[in-house]
Symmetry: C2
Subunit: 219 residues, 2 copies
Amino acid sequence: MAKVGVVLSGCGVYDGSEIHEAVITLLALDRGGAEAVCMAPNVDAAVVNHLSGEESPGETRNVLVESARIARGNIRDIADVKADELDALIFPGGFGAAKNLCDFAVKGADCVAHPEVTRLVREIVAARKPLAALCIAPALISRILGDDKLAHKLTIGNDQGTADAMTRMGSEHVECSVGNFVLDPTNKLVSTPAYMLAGRIREAAEGIEKTVAELLKMI
Amino acid sequence: MAKVGVVLSGCGVYDGSEIHEAVITLLALDRGGAEAVCMAPNVDAAVVNHLSGEESPGETRNVLVESARIARGNIRDIADVKADELDALIFPGGFGAAKNLCDFAVKGADCVAHPEVTRLVREIVAARKPLAALCIAPALISRILGDDKLAHKLTIGNDQGTADAMTRMGSEHVECSVGNFVLDPTNKLVSTPAYMLAGRIREAAEGIEKTVAELLKMI
């Protein structure tokens, strides 16, 4: 059974992993016959009240502990996961990917990625194992592969500001509609806009299900 | 477009809504052509650290605010929702259904349900609108309908202790496997074991997708 790392970044679209994207990913992996290996960085992060949309002043929560909610407790510190135990890696989106796995949400093209996330992505790409990124998560991948001067293609849909930042970091950004994905066969990268464009959950699901199928096909 | 109320109870299997069950429900509703109306009670509740499985001493979180994570902010206080604006109602499971919507997790057959949850369930059943309950949530429905001396059938799978408590509260408990559901056509009730029995997400999804399809058929 293929093992696919799922990198979470908290639990909730505004300060963590986008929950729908994460669960649809887990379901698509299981239905595709793969085992999900959930992981997250062991760091504290700011909290957004998802009812008001406002940051909760002074409150922090641990990203690994909150991600465990999505994983039903079955999760590991990303620092303990090596690429040689995985067949592929996937990043759901949500602001957590741009706030907790890197600081793209604040710094844009000047962002820095979490060192353990950087390490694992580099290991996966160096081992020629496939990698998928949903929603805003391709901006994180752009940072890491751009720093490595690796020519590659990714999509976050059609948001011009985000696409421009990714171009500055070193990606070729390819526009993509919500129900589809962009494949970079050379680097075994697959990406889909998900909630960067989705107006409803079934739209996000369509692109994510296709992305996971493509990811598993490349193993 | 049919409107289906989705009653959430927090965000995480051990102290709130089971996240996979809630998201699979939202996706099945959207794919079935129905609009989800997410709601939760505006109450504080104890917090469980989902990494350690232990209660987080002294910490509380608001059930409506945490449920908003699953609903991407699009959620209402259940106290403001009336049955006449809904075509059906569904309860995902998770310990939140047995801790925050009632206190079945602590009191068993002597539990009491949240008054606004009780009111809305009574309104839905009185209006002959269909109602679905997943996982442990049928124990909550058992409390409410049992108190009303309404003969009815529900399932939580095959857990004998829970089934016995539901029998004492006034339900006829019907055993059910994870990929199926139990239908009470007289009262338009449908229930499925989900993670009371599921060993993996695709097993939970199979029963939930069938349950939502049956719920929508009864509208």
